[in-house]
Protein backbone atom coordinates (compact mmCIF):
# COMPACT_ATOMS: atom_id res chain seq x y z
CA UNK A 1 0.00 0.00 0.00
CA UNK A 2 2.80 2.41 0.81
CA UNK A 3 4.33 1.97 -2.64
CA UNK A 4 1.28 3.24 -4.48
CA UNK A 5 1.11 6.35 -2.36
CA UNK A 6 3.58 8.16 -4.59
CA UNK A 7 2.17 7.18 -8.00
CA UNK A 8 -0.57 9.81 -8.48
CA UNK A 9 2.00 12.58 -8.65
CA UNK A 10 3.92 10.74 -11.36
CA UNK A 11 0.79 9.79 -13.31
CA UNK A 12 -0.29 13.40 -13.48
CA UNK A 13 2.78 14.41 -15.49
CA UNK A 14 2.00 12.42 -18.64
CA UNK A 15 -1.37 11.58 -20.14
CA UNK A 16 -1.36 8.00 -21.44
CA UNK A 17 -4.41 5.74 -20.95
CA UNK A 18 -3.15 4.97 -17.49
CA UNK A 19 -3.29 8.66 -16.76
CA UNK A 20 -6.89 8.95 -17.87
CA UNK A 21 -7.73 6.10 -15.56
CA UNK A 22 -5.86 7.66 -12.67
CA UNK A 23 -7.53 11.01 -13.04
CA UNK A 24 -11.05 9.63 -13.43
CA UNK A 25 -10.62 6.68 -11.18
CA UNK A 26 -13.31 7.74 -8.74
CA UNK A 27 -15.90 8.14 -11.52
CA UNK A 28 -14.99 5.03 -13.50
CA UNK A 29 -14.34 2.56 -10.71
CA UNK A 30 -18.00 1.96 -9.76
CA UNK A 31 -18.81 0.95 -13.31
CA UNK A 32 -15.89 -1.46 -13.46
CA UNK A 33 -17.01 -3.02 -10.19
CA UNK A 34 -20.63 -3.14 -11.34
CA UNK A 35 -19.99 -4.52 -14.83
CA UNK A 36 -20.20 -8.27 -14.09
CA UNK A 37 -23.30 -7.85 -11.96
CA UNK A 38 -25.08 -5.59 -14.43
CA UNK A 39 -24.27 -7.80 -17.42
CA UNK A 40 -25.49 -10.99 -15.76
CA UNK A 41 -28.56 -9.35 -14.28
CA UNK A 42 -29.51 -7.63 -17.53
CA UNK A 43 -29.11 -10.84 -19.52
CA UNK A 44 -30.95 -13.20 -17.18
CA UNK A 45 -33.46 -10.96 -15.41
CA UNK A 46 -34.13 -7.61 -17.12
CA UNK A 47 -34.12 -8.81 -20.71
CA UNK A 48 -36.34 -11.87 -20.00
CA UNK A 49 -38.97 -9.68 -18.33
CA UNK A 50 -39.23 -7.49 -21.43
CA UNK A 51 -39.06 -10.49 -23.76
CA UNK A 52 -41.90 -12.21 -21.87
CA UNK A 53 -44.09 -9.13 -22.11
CA UNK A 54 -43.43 -8.95 -25.83
CA UNK A 55 -44.06 -12.67 -26.27
CA UNK A 56 -47.44 -12.41 -24.58
CA UNK A 57 -48.75 -10.78 -27.77
CA UNK A 58 -47.78 -13.78 -29.91
CA UNK A 59 -48.84 -17.31 -30.58
CA UNK A 60 -45.73 -19.50 -30.34
CA UNK A 61 -45.05 -23.19 -29.75
CA UNK A 62 -41.44 -22.62 -28.77
CA UNK A 63 -39.95 -23.82 -32.06
CA UNK A 64 -41.81 -22.60 -35.15
CA UNK A 65 -42.56 -19.08 -36.28
CA UNK A 66 -44.31 -16.61 -34.02
CA UNK A 67 -47.66 -15.24 -35.07
CA UNK A 68 -48.76 -11.81 -33.89
CA UNK A 69 -52.01 -11.99 -31.93
CA UNK A 70 -52.24 -8.56 -30.37
CA UNK A 71 -54.38 -8.71 -27.25
CA UNK A 72 -55.84 -12.08 -28.18
CA UNK A 73 -54.05 -14.03 -25.42
CA UNK A 74 -55.36 -11.64 -22.80
CA UNK A 75 -58.88 -11.76 -24.21
CA UNK A 76 -58.74 -15.55 -24.03
CA UNK A 77 -57.65 -15.32 -20.39
CA UNK A 78 -60.80 -13.38 -19.53
CA UNK A 79 -62.83 -16.36 -20.63
CA UNK A 80 -60.66 -19.08 -19.13
CA UNK A 81 -62.13 -20.84 -16.09
CA UNK A 82 -58.79 -22.40 -15.19
CA UNK A 83 -57.31 -18.92 -15.06
CA UNK A 84 -59.96 -17.76 -12.60
CA UNK A 85 -59.47 -20.86 -10.45
CA UNK A 86 -55.74 -20.14 -10.33
CA UNK A 87 -56.27 -16.49 -9.56
CA UNK A 88 -58.76 -17.31 -6.83
CA UNK A 89 -56.37 -19.84 -5.31
CA UNK A 90 -53.60 -17.25 -5.39
CA UNK A 91 -55.78 -14.93 -3.35
CA UNK A 92 -56.48 -17.68 -0.81
CA UNK A 93 -52.74 -18.35 -0.64
CA UNK A 94 -51.99 -14.69 -0.08
CA UNK A 95 -54.56 -14.25 2.67
CA UNK A 96 -53.86 -17.46 4.58
CA UNK A 97 -50.10 -17.21 4.16
CA UNK A 98 -50.19 -13.98 6.16
CA UNK A 99 -51.00 -16.14 9.20
CA UNK A 100 -47.31 -17.01 9.19
CA UNK A 101 -46.48 -13.54 10.51
CA UNK A 102 -48.51 -13.63 13.77
CA UNK A 103 -47.82 -17.34 14.21
CA UNK A 104 -44.10 -16.72 13.83
CA UNK A 105 -44.32 -13.91 16.38
CA UNK A 106 -46.20 -16.19 18.76
CA UNK A 107 -43.57 -18.93 18.61
CA UNK A 108 -40.79 -16.35 18.91
CA UNK A 109 -42.39 -14.99 22.10
CA UNK A 110 -42.73 -18.52 23.41
CA UNK A 111 -39.05 -19.26 22.77
CA UNK A 112 -37.59 -15.91 23.82
CA UNK A 113 -36.27 -17.18 27.16
CA UNK A 114 -32.89 -18.10 28.52
CA UNK A 115 -33.52 -21.51 30.04
CA UNK A 116 -31.01 -24.27 29.48
CA UNK A 117 -30.94 -25.75 25.98
CA UNK A 118 -33.11 -23.02 24.51
CA UNK A 119 -30.70 -22.46 21.62
CA UNK A 120 -31.21 -26.01 20.46
CA UNK A 121 -34.97 -25.56 20.69
CA UNK A 122 -34.75 -22.43 18.59
CA UNK A 123 -32.77 -24.15 15.87
CA UNK A 124 -35.02 -27.19 15.85
CA UNK A 125 -38.08 -24.96 15.52
CA UNK A 126 -36.38 -23.28 12.61
CA UNK A 127 -35.66 -26.64 10.98
CA UNK A 128 -38.57 -26.74 8.47
CA UNK A 129 -37.24 -23.66 6.70
CA UNK A 130 -33.93 -25.30 5.91
CA UNK A 131 -35.35 -28.28 4.06
CA UNK A 132 -36.42 -28.08 0.47
CA UNK A 133 -40.07 -27.45 -0.39
CA UNK A 134 -39.93 -30.67 -2.39
CA UNK A 135 -39.21 -32.55 0.81
CA UNK A 136 -41.81 -30.53 2.73
CA UNK A 137 -44.33 -31.43 0.03
CA UNK A 138 -43.52 -35.13 0.24
CA UNK A 139 -43.66 -35.05 4.04
CA UNK A 140 -47.12 -33.51 3.98
CA UNK A 141 -48.30 -35.77 1.18
CA UNK A 142 -47.43 -38.63 3.52
CA UNK A 143 -49.09 -36.83 6.44
CA UNK A 144 -52.35 -36.46 4.47
CA UNK A 145 -52.25 -39.83 2.69
CA UNK A 146 -55.59 -41.67 2.79
CA UNK A 147 -55.88 -44.72 5.05
CA UNK A 148 -52.47 -44.50 6.70
CA UNK A 149 -51.57 -40.81 6.89
CA UNK A 150 -51.32 -39.38 10.38
CA UNK A 151 -53.67 -36.52 9.59
CA UNK A 152 -56.17 -38.78 7.83
CA UNK A 153 -56.34 -41.02 10.87
CA UNK A 154 -56.62 -38.12 13.24
CA UNK A 155 -59.66 -36.80 11.36
CA UNK A 156 -61.12 -40.29 11.16
CA UNK A 157 -60.67 -40.67 14.91
CA UNK A 158 -62.39 -37.35 15.62
CA UNK A 159 -65.22 -37.35 13.08
CA UNK A 160 -65.62 -40.98 12.13
CA UNK A 161 -64.70 -40.55 8.46
CA UNK A 162 -61.31 -39.70 7.11
CA UNK A 163 -60.74 -36.97 4.56
CA UNK A 164 -58.35 -37.45 1.65
CA UNK A 165 -57.28 -33.81 1.69
CA UNK A 166 -55.25 -33.85 -1.50
CA UNK A 167 -57.89 -35.64 -3.53
CA UNK A 168 -60.77 -33.42 -2.49
CA UNK A 169 -61.21 -30.22 -4.45
CA UNK A 170 -62.82 -28.51 -1.47
CA UNK A 171 -59.77 -28.89 0.79
CA UNK A 172 -56.81 -29.41 -1.47
CA UNK A 173 -55.62 -25.79 -1.64
CA UNK A 174 -55.92 -25.40 2.12
CA UNK A 175 -53.96 -28.60 2.61
CA UNK A 176 -51.13 -27.34 0.43
CA UNK A 177 -51.13 -23.93 2.11
CA UNK A 178 -50.83 -25.63 5.51
CA UNK A 179 -47.72 -27.39 4.21
CA UNK A 180 -46.37 -24.05 2.97
CA UNK A 181 -47.06 -22.34 6.26
CA UNK A 182 -44.85 -24.75 8.14
CA UNK A 183 -41.51 -23.45 6.81
CA UNK A 184 -42.86 -19.91 6.45
CA UNK A 185 -43.79 -19.69 10.14
CA UNK A 186 -40.29 -20.87 10.96
CA UNK A 187 -38.87 -18.08 8.81
CA UNK A 188 -41.00 -15.38 10.47
CA UNK A 189 -40.14 -16.82 13.87
CA UNK A 190 -36.41 -16.39 13.32
CA UNK A 191 -36.93 -12.82 12.09
CA UNK A 192 -38.87 -12.00 15.24
CA UNK A 193 -36.42 -13.77 17.54
CA UNK A 194 -33.67 -11.54 16.21
CA UNK A 195 -35.94 -8.54 16.54
CA UNK A 196 -36.82 -9.39 20.15
CA UNK A 197 -33.13 -9.67 20.90
CA UNK A 198 -32.73 -6.03 19.95
CA UNK A 199 -35.70 -4.62 21.83
CA UNK A 200 -34.40 -1.87 24.14
CA UNK A 201 -34.47 -3.35 27.68
CA UNK A 202 -34.71 0.04 29.40
CA UNK A 203 -37.96 0.82 27.58
CA UNK A 204 -39.41 -2.52 28.58
CA UNK A 205 -38.42 -1.94 32.20
CA UNK A 206 -39.83 1.59 32.15
CA UNK A 207 -43.13 0.33 30.74
CA UNK A 208 -43.15 -2.40 33.35
CA UNK A 209 -42.78 0.17 36.11
CA UNK A 210 -45.75 1.98 34.61
CA UNK A 211 -47.73 -1.19 35.04
CA UNK A 212 -47.82 -2.34 31.42
CA UNK A 213 -47.77 -6.07 30.86
CA UNK A 214 -49.05 -8.88 28.68
CA UNK A 215 -50.82 -7.97 25.51
CA UNK A 216 -50.84 -4.25 26.26
CA UNK A 217 -47.08 -4.25 26.62
CA UNK A 218 -46.72 -6.26 23.40
CA UNK A 219 -48.96 -3.94 21.43
CA UNK A 220 -47.74 -0.56 22.67
CA UNK A 221 -44.10 -1.15 23.53
CA UNK A 222 -42.76 -4.26 21.82
CA UNK A 223 -44.45 -4.30 18.42
CA UNK A 224 -43.44 -0.74 17.49
CA UNK A 225 -39.83 -1.75 18.13
CA UNK A 226 -40.29 -4.88 16.03
CA UNK A 227 -41.44 -2.89 13.01
CA UNK A 228 -38.38 -3.67 10.84
CA UNK A 229 -38.80 -7.40 11.52
CA UNK A 230 -42.51 -7.18 10.73
CA UNK A 231 -41.77 -5.40 7.47
CA UNK A 232 -39.33 -8.08 6.30
CA UNK A 233 -41.66 -10.85 7.50
CA UNK A 234 -44.53 -9.39 5.45
CA UNK A 235 -42.31 -8.93 2.37
CA UNK A 236 -41.01 -12.49 2.36
CA UNK A 237 -44.46 -13.91 3.13
CA UNK A 238 -46.21 -12.03 0.31
CA UNK A 239 -43.50 -12.99 -2.15
CA UNK A 240 -43.55 -16.58 -0.91
CA UNK A 241 -47.33 -16.82 -1.30
CA UNK A 242 -47.31 -15.51 -4.85
CA UNK A 243 -44.32 -17.65 -5.81
CA UNK A 244 -45.91 -20.87 -4.61
CA UNK A 245 -45.15 -23.46 -7.22
CA UNK A 246 -43.05 -26.26 -5.75
CA UNK A 247 -45.64 -27.53 -3.31
CA UNK A 248 -48.46 -27.53 -5.86
CA UNK A 249 -46.28 -29.36 -8.34
CA UNK A 250 -45.07 -31.94 -5.82
CA UNK A 251 -48.24 -32.57 -3.86
CA UNK A 252 -50.98 -32.57 -6.49
CA UNK A 253 -49.65 -31.48 -9.88
CA UNK A 254 -52.48 -28.94 -9.86
CA UNK A 255 -55.18 -31.55 -9.32
CA UNK A 256 -57.67 -32.90 -8.66
CA UNK A 257 -59.05 -31.61 -11.96
CA UNK A 258 -56.93 -28.49 -11.80
CA UNK A 259 -58.55 -27.30 -8.60
CA UNK A 260 -55.29 -26.58 -6.76
CA UNK A 261 -53.62 -24.65 -9.56
CA UNK A 262 -52.10 -21.26 -8.87
CA UNK A 263 -51.03 -18.77 -11.53
CA UNK A 264 -47.36 -19.76 -11.40
CA UNK A 265 -48.28 -23.40 -11.88
CA UNK A 266 -50.89 -22.78 -14.56
CA UNK A 267 -48.37 -20.73 -16.51
CA UNK A 268 -45.85 -23.58 -16.38
CA UNK A 269 -48.51 -26.05 -17.43
CA UNK A 270 -49.52 -23.98 -20.47
CA UNK A 271 -45.99 -23.21 -21.59
CA UNK A 272 -43.96 -26.31 -20.82
CA UNK A 273 -45.86 -29.40 -19.82
CA UNK A 274 -47.49 -32.18 -21.77
CA UNK A 275 -50.59 -30.01 -22.18
CA UNK A 276 -48.85 -28.19 -24.99
CA UNK A 277 -46.27 -25.58 -25.62
CA UNK A 278 -48.34 -22.42 -25.63
CA UNK A 279 -45.50 -20.06 -24.86
CA UNK A 280 -47.40 -16.90 -25.76
CA UNK A 281 -50.41 -17.78 -23.63
CA UNK A 282 -48.14 -18.81 -20.79
CA UNK A 283 -46.30 -15.51 -21.08
CA UNK A 284 -49.62 -13.66 -20.80
CA UNK A 285 -50.38 -15.51 -17.53
CA UNK A 286 -46.89 -14.65 -16.29
CA UNK A 287 -47.46 -10.99 -17.13
CA UNK A 288 -50.65 -10.98 -15.04
CA UNK A 289 -48.80 -12.56 -12.11
CA UNK A 290 -45.97 -10.09 -12.59
CA UNK A 291 -48.43 -7.19 -12.54
CA UNK A 292 -49.94 -8.45 -9.27
CA UNK A 293 -46.50 -8.79 -7.75
CA UNK A 294 -45.45 -5.37 -8.99
CA UNK A 295 -48.17 -3.81 -6.84
CA UNK A 296 -46.47 -5.26 -3.78
CA UNK A 297 -42.92 -4.79 -5.01
CA UNK A 298 -43.57 -1.10 -5.74
CA UNK A 299 -44.96 -0.64 -2.27
CA UNK A 300 -41.95 -2.35 -0.66
CA UNK A 301 -39.50 -0.37 -2.76
CA UNK A 302 -41.33 2.86 -2.04
CA UNK A 303 -41.00 2.17 1.65
CA UNK A 304 -37.34 1.23 1.36
CA UNK A 305 -36.56 4.38 -0.66
CA UNK A 306 -38.25 6.44 2.01
CA UNK A 307 -36.13 4.82 4.73
CA UNK A 308 -33.03 5.21 2.59
CA UNK A 309 -33.63 8.93 2.15
CA UNK A 310 -34.28 9.30 5.84
CA UNK A 311 -30.87 7.87 6.72
Amino acid sequence: MTGSATTPAIAGTHSDTRGIWKRNQRALAPWVFLAPGIIMFALYVIYPIIASMWLSFYDWDGLGTRTWLGMQNYIELLDDDAFYTSLYNNIIWLVLYMLAVPAGLFIALFLNQTVMGIRIYKSLFFFPFVISQVVVGLIFAWFYAPNFGLFYNLIEWITGTGVAVLADDRYVTYGIIAAGLWPQIAYCMILYLTGLNNVAPDQVEAARLDGAKGFKMLWHVILPQLRPATFIAIVVTVIGALRSFDLVSIMTDGGPYGSSRVLSFYMYEQALSEYGFRMGYGAAIAVVLFAIMMIFISFFIWKMVRDERGM
Binding site: M1, S4, A5, R26, A29, P30, F33, L34, G37, M40, F41, Y44, V45, I46, P48, A51, S52, G62, Q113, T114, V115, I118, Y121, S123, F125, F127, P128, I131, S132, Q133, V134, V135, L138, I139, W142, F148, L150, N153, W182, Y187, L191, T194, P201, I222, P228, I232, F245, D246, S249, L263, S264, Y268, L272, A286, V287, L289, F290, I297, I301, V305
Partner: protein
Protein backbone atom coordinates in the same frame (compact mmCIF):
# COMPACT_ATOMS: atom_id res chain seq x y z
CA UNK B 1 -36.56 -8.56 27.94
CA UNK B 2 -40.00 -9.50 26.73
CA UNK B 3 -41.81 -11.70 27.60
CA UNK B 4 -40.90 -11.60 31.29
CA UNK B 5 -37.99 -14.02 31.93
CA UNK B 6 -39.33 -17.32 33.08
CA UNK B 7 -36.83 -17.38 36.00
CA UNK B 8 -38.79 -14.52 37.57
CA UNK B 9 -42.10 -16.36 37.61
CA UNK B 10 -43.61 -18.81 40.06
CA UNK B 11 -41.87 -22.20 40.25
CA UNK B 12 -44.99 -23.92 38.93
CA UNK B 13 -44.92 -21.79 35.79
CA UNK B 14 -41.26 -22.60 35.30
CA UNK B 15 -41.89 -26.31 35.47
CA UNK B 16 -44.83 -25.93 33.14
CA UNK B 17 -42.72 -24.03 30.65
CA UNK B 18 -39.98 -26.60 30.71
CA UNK B 19 -42.55 -29.30 30.04
CA UNK B 20 -44.26 -27.32 27.31
CA UNK B 21 -41.04 -26.87 25.36
CA UNK B 22 -40.42 -30.48 24.34
CA UNK B 23 -44.14 -31.12 23.81
CA UNK B 24 -44.44 -28.14 21.48
CA UNK B 25 -41.30 -29.19 19.65
CA UNK B 26 -42.56 -32.71 19.06
CA UNK B 27 -45.90 -31.42 17.78
CA UNK B 28 -44.12 -28.91 15.55
CA UNK B 29 -41.83 -31.52 14.03
CA UNK B 30 -44.43 -34.30 13.99
CA UNK B 31 -44.61 -34.64 10.19
CA UNK B 32 -40.84 -34.76 9.97
CA UNK B 33 -40.50 -37.29 12.77
CA UNK B 34 -43.10 -39.45 11.09
CA UNK B 35 -41.16 -39.44 7.85
CA UNK B 36 -37.87 -40.12 9.62
CA UNK B 37 -39.46 -43.11 11.32
CA UNK B 38 -41.06 -44.36 8.12
CA UNK B 39 -37.70 -44.23 6.38
CA UNK B 40 -36.42 -46.79 8.87
CA UNK B 41 -39.32 -49.20 8.64
CA UNK B 42 -39.02 -52.46 6.73
CA UNK B 43 -41.61 -52.68 3.97
CA UNK B 44 -43.25 -55.61 5.81
CA UNK B 45 -44.21 -53.22 8.63
CA UNK B 46 -46.07 -50.99 6.20
CA UNK B 47 -47.70 -53.97 4.54
CA UNK B 48 -49.00 -55.17 7.91
CA UNK B 49 -50.45 -51.78 8.72
CA UNK B 50 -47.80 -50.73 11.25
CA UNK B 51 -47.91 -47.10 10.22
CA UNK B 52 -47.48 -45.30 13.51
CA UNK B 53 -45.77 -47.77 15.80
CA UNK B 54 -42.05 -48.10 16.12
CA UNK B 55 -40.33 -50.04 13.34
CA UNK B 56 -40.11 -53.77 14.13
CA UNK B 57 -36.41 -53.39 13.36
CA UNK B 58 -34.35 -50.52 12.01
CA UNK B 59 -34.28 -51.08 8.27
CA UNK B 60 -31.25 -49.09 7.20
CA UNK B 61 -31.53 -51.19 4.06
CA UNK B 62 -34.09 -48.65 2.80
CA UNK B 63 -31.26 -46.17 2.47
CA UNK B 64 -29.06 -48.72 0.77
CA UNK B 65 -31.94 -49.53 -1.58
CA UNK B 66 -32.37 -45.90 -2.49
CA UNK B 67 -28.69 -45.55 -3.29
CA UNK B 68 -28.41 -48.82 -5.17
CA UNK B 69 -31.61 -48.81 -7.16
CA UNK B 70 -31.99 -45.17 -8.08
CA UNK B 71 -29.69 -42.49 -9.48
CA UNK B 72 -29.91 -40.49 -6.23
CA UNK B 73 -26.13 -40.54 -5.84
CA UNK B 74 -25.83 -38.89 -9.23
CA UNK B 75 -28.58 -36.39 -8.34
CA UNK B 76 -26.76 -35.41 -5.17
CA UNK B 77 -23.52 -34.99 -7.09
CA UNK B 78 -25.34 -32.81 -9.65
CA UNK B 79 -26.75 -30.69 -6.84
CA UNK B 80 -23.25 -30.05 -5.53
CA UNK B 81 -22.00 -29.27 -9.03
CA UNK B 82 -24.71 -26.64 -9.46
CA UNK B 83 -24.65 -25.26 -5.93
CA UNK B 84 -20.94 -24.74 -5.29
CA UNK B 85 -20.13 -22.73 -8.45
CA UNK B 86 -23.29 -20.68 -7.88
CA UNK B 87 -22.24 -19.81 -4.35
CA UNK B 88 -18.78 -18.75 -5.54
CA UNK B 89 -20.05 -16.86 -8.56
CA UNK B 90 -22.92 -15.02 -6.91
CA UNK B 91 -20.89 -14.06 -3.85
CA UNK B 92 -17.94 -12.86 -5.95
CA UNK B 93 -20.13 -10.75 -8.25
CA UNK B 94 -22.04 -9.25 -5.36
CA UNK B 95 -18.88 -8.34 -3.44
CA UNK B 96 -17.97 -6.17 -6.41
CA UNK B 97 -21.38 -4.67 -7.09
CA UNK B 98 -22.21 -4.27 -3.40
CA UNK B 99 -18.93 -2.40 -2.94
CA UNK B 100 -19.71 -0.13 -5.90
CA UNK B 101 -23.20 0.70 -4.64
CA UNK B 102 -22.13 1.24 -1.04
CA UNK B 103 -19.01 3.34 -1.52
CA UNK B 104 -19.52 5.55 -4.58
CA UNK B 105 -21.94 8.40 -5.02
CA UNK B 106 -23.16 8.63 -8.60
CA UNK B 107 -26.43 9.50 -10.19
CA UNK B 108 -27.61 6.00 -11.08
CA UNK B 109 -26.69 4.53 -7.72
CA UNK B 110 -30.10 4.23 -6.07
CA UNK B 111 -31.81 3.32 -9.34
CA UNK B 112 -29.43 0.41 -9.90
CA UNK B 113 -29.70 -0.66 -6.30
CA UNK B 114 -33.48 -0.86 -6.42
CA UNK B 115 -33.34 -2.58 -9.78
CA UNK B 116 -31.35 -5.35 -8.12
CA UNK B 117 -33.78 -5.43 -5.21
CA UNK B 118 -36.88 -5.48 -7.42
CA UNK B 119 -35.41 -8.11 -9.76
CA UNK B 120 -34.96 -10.34 -6.77
CA UNK B 121 -38.72 -10.31 -6.09
CA UNK B 122 -40.14 -10.97 -9.56
CA UNK B 123 -42.07 -14.19 -10.20
CA UNK B 124 -39.91 -16.86 -11.84
CA UNK B 125 -42.51 -17.45 -14.52
CA UNK B 126 -41.96 -14.08 -16.15
CA UNK B 127 -38.36 -15.13 -16.77
CA UNK B 128 -39.05 -18.72 -17.68
CA UNK B 129 -39.59 -18.78 -21.43
CA UNK B 130 -36.82 -16.31 -22.40
CA UNK B 131 -34.30 -17.86 -19.99
CA UNK B 132 -35.07 -21.28 -21.38
CA UNK B 133 -34.68 -19.96 -24.95
CA UNK B 134 -31.42 -18.28 -24.06
CA UNK B 135 -30.13 -21.47 -22.51
CA UNK B 136 -31.23 -23.57 -25.48
CA UNK B 137 -29.70 -21.20 -28.03
CA UNK B 138 -26.34 -21.10 -26.24
CA UNK B 139 -26.28 -24.90 -26.22
CA UNK B 140 -26.45 -25.00 -22.44
CA UNK B 141 -29.92 -26.53 -22.12
CA UNK B 142 -29.87 -29.61 -19.92
CA UNK B 143 -26.38 -28.85 -18.65
CA UNK B 144 -25.17 -28.06 -15.18
CA UNK B 145 -23.41 -24.95 -16.51
CA UNK B 146 -26.64 -23.56 -17.93
CA UNK B 147 -28.47 -24.00 -14.65
CA UNK B 148 -25.61 -22.59 -12.58
CA UNK B 149 -25.24 -19.53 -14.83
CA UNK B 150 -28.86 -18.60 -14.36
CA UNK B 151 -28.64 -19.09 -10.61
CA UNK B 152 -25.54 -16.91 -10.39
CA UNK B 153 -27.28 -14.13 -12.29
CA UNK B 154 -30.52 -14.31 -10.32
CA UNK B 155 -28.90 -14.65 -6.89
CA UNK B 156 -26.65 -11.67 -7.56
CA UNK B 157 -29.74 -9.51 -7.00
CA UNK B 158 -30.31 -10.60 -3.43
CA UNK B 159 -26.57 -10.87 -2.75
CA UNK B 160 -25.94 -7.31 -3.95
CA UNK B 161 -28.65 -6.01 -1.64
CA UNK B 162 -27.04 -7.91 1.20
CA UNK B 163 -23.44 -6.87 0.50
CA UNK B 164 -24.30 -3.26 -0.15
CA UNK B 165 -26.08 -2.95 3.18
CA UNK B 166 -23.25 -4.69 4.96
CA UNK B 167 -20.55 -2.44 3.46
CA UNK B 168 -22.65 0.63 4.27
CA UNK B 169 -22.30 -0.37 7.91
CA UNK B 170 -18.49 -0.38 7.78
CA UNK B 171 -16.60 2.71 8.94
CA UNK B 172 -16.27 4.89 5.86
CA UNK B 173 -13.30 6.79 7.36
CA UNK B 174 -11.11 3.79 6.56
CA UNK B 175 -11.74 4.29 2.86
CA UNK B 176 -11.45 8.07 3.10
CA UNK B 177 -8.08 7.95 4.78
CA UNK B 178 -6.78 5.38 2.30
CA UNK B 179 -7.83 7.70 -0.52
CA UNK B 180 -6.04 10.61 1.07
CA UNK B 181 -2.94 8.46 1.07
CA UNK B 182 -3.46 7.88 -2.65
CA UNK B 183 -4.33 4.20 -2.47
CA UNK B 184 -6.01 3.10 -5.73
CA UNK B 185 -9.68 2.13 -5.68
CA UNK B 186 -8.92 -1.51 -6.49
CA UNK B 187 -6.43 -1.76 -3.69
CA UNK B 188 -8.95 -0.20 -1.33
CA UNK B 189 -11.42 -2.88 -2.32
CA UNK B 190 -8.96 -5.75 -2.14
CA UNK B 191 -6.86 -4.86 0.89
CA UNK B 192 -9.21 -2.81 3.05
CA UNK B 193 -12.84 -3.68 2.39
CA UNK B 194 -12.69 -7.32 1.35
CA UNK B 195 -11.02 -8.55 4.55
CA UNK B 196 -13.73 -6.83 6.56
CA UNK B 197 -16.43 -8.55 4.52
CA UNK B 198 -15.54 -12.04 5.73
CA UNK B 199 -18.56 -12.44 8.02
CA UNK B 200 -20.89 -11.27 5.24
CA UNK B 201 -19.29 -13.64 2.77
CA UNK B 202 -19.69 -16.53 5.19
CA UNK B 203 -23.33 -15.69 5.93
CA UNK B 204 -24.22 -15.21 2.30
CA UNK B 205 -22.49 -18.41 1.20
CA UNK B 206 -24.46 -20.54 3.64
CA UNK B 207 -27.68 -18.85 2.65
CA UNK B 208 -27.15 -19.14 -1.10
CA UNK B 209 -26.07 -22.75 -0.68
CA UNK B 210 -29.41 -23.54 0.93
CA UNK B 211 -31.45 -21.55 -1.59
CA UNK B 212 -29.83 -23.20 -4.58
CA UNK B 213 -29.76 -26.68 -3.15
CA UNK B 214 -33.49 -26.40 -2.52
CA UNK B 215 -34.37 -24.91 -5.89
CA UNK B 216 -36.88 -27.02 -7.73
CA UNK B 217 -38.48 -24.79 -10.34
CA UNK B 218 -35.39 -23.95 -12.39
CA UNK B 219 -34.12 -27.48 -12.09
CA UNK B 220 -37.27 -28.72 -13.84
CA UNK B 221 -37.21 -25.95 -16.44
CA UNK B 222 -33.54 -26.14 -17.43
CA UNK B 223 -32.58 -29.80 -16.92
CA UNK B 224 -34.28 -32.99 -18.00
CA UNK B 225 -32.05 -36.02 -17.57
CA UNK B 226 -30.68 -37.96 -14.62
CA UNK B 227 -27.15 -36.94 -15.65
CA UNK B 228 -27.87 -33.28 -15.01
CA UNK B 229 -30.86 -33.00 -12.69
CA UNK B 230 -30.28 -31.88 -9.12
CA UNK B 231 -31.77 -33.87 -6.29
CA UNK B 232 -34.96 -31.80 -5.91
CA UNK B 233 -36.08 -32.48 -9.47
CA UNK B 234 -34.75 -36.03 -9.17
CA UNK B 235 -36.84 -36.66 -6.09
CA UNK B 236 -39.95 -35.62 -7.99
CA UNK B 237 -39.38 -38.22 -10.69
CA UNK B 238 -38.42 -40.88 -8.14
CA UNK B 239 -41.63 -40.15 -6.27
CA UNK B 240 -43.46 -41.02 -9.48
CA UNK B 241 -41.66 -44.36 -9.68
CA UNK B 242 -42.00 -45.29 -6.02
CA UNK B 243 -45.74 -45.04 -5.83
CA UNK B 244 -46.86 -46.01 -2.33
CA UNK B 245 -43.40 -47.23 -1.32
CA UNK B 246 -43.28 -44.67 1.42
CA UNK B 247 -40.25 -46.15 3.12
CA UNK B 248 -38.22 -45.34 -0.02
CA UNK B 249 -39.80 -41.91 -0.56
CA UNK B 250 -39.04 -41.07 3.06
CA UNK B 251 -35.46 -42.28 2.89
CA UNK B 252 -34.93 -40.35 -0.36
CA UNK B 253 -36.38 -37.19 1.18
CA UNK B 254 -34.11 -37.45 4.19
CA UNK B 255 -31.06 -37.94 1.99
CA UNK B 256 -31.98 -34.93 -0.14
CA UNK B 257 -32.54 -32.75 2.92
CA UNK B 258 -29.26 -33.70 4.61
CA UNK B 259 -26.68 -31.34 3.04
CA UNK B 260 -28.51 -28.06 3.75
CA UNK B 261 -29.45 -29.32 7.19
CA UNK B 262 -25.83 -30.12 8.03
CA UNK B 263 -24.80 -26.78 6.59
CA UNK B 264 -27.34 -25.07 8.81
CA UNK B 265 -26.26 -26.79 11.99
CA UNK B 266 -22.56 -26.32 11.31
CA UNK B 267 -22.85 -22.68 10.28
CA UNK B 268 -25.89 -21.71 12.31
CA UNK B 269 -24.55 -18.38 13.50
CA UNK B 270 -23.76 -17.24 9.97
CA UNK B 271 -26.99 -18.59 8.57
CA UNK B 272 -29.16 -16.65 10.99
CA UNK B 273 -27.02 -13.54 10.72
CA UNK B 274 -27.57 -13.67 6.97
CA UNK B 275 -31.27 -14.30 7.09
CA UNK B 276 -32.03 -11.60 9.58
CA UNK B 277 -29.83 -8.84 8.21
CA UNK B 278 -32.11 -5.88 7.90
CA UNK B 279 -34.65 -7.27 10.31
CA UNK B 280 -33.13 -5.31 13.14
CA UNK B 281 -32.36 -1.95 11.65
CA UNK B 282 -34.40 0.10 9.29
Amino acid sequence: MFPRPIEHTAPATQVLYKLALPVALILWLLPLLGVAMTSLKPSSDLAQGNYFGLPSYLAFSNYADVFNNSPIGQYILNSFKVTIPTVIGAVAISCLSGFALAVYRFRMNLVLFFLFVAGNFVPFQILMVPVRDLTVSTGLYNTITGLALFHIAFQSGFCTLFMRNFIKGLPFELIESARVEGVSEFRIFWYIVLPLMRPAIAALSVLVFTFIWNDYFWATVLTTSAETQPVTAGLYSLNGQWIAQWQLVSAGSIIAAMPPVLMFFLMQKHFIAGLTLGATKG
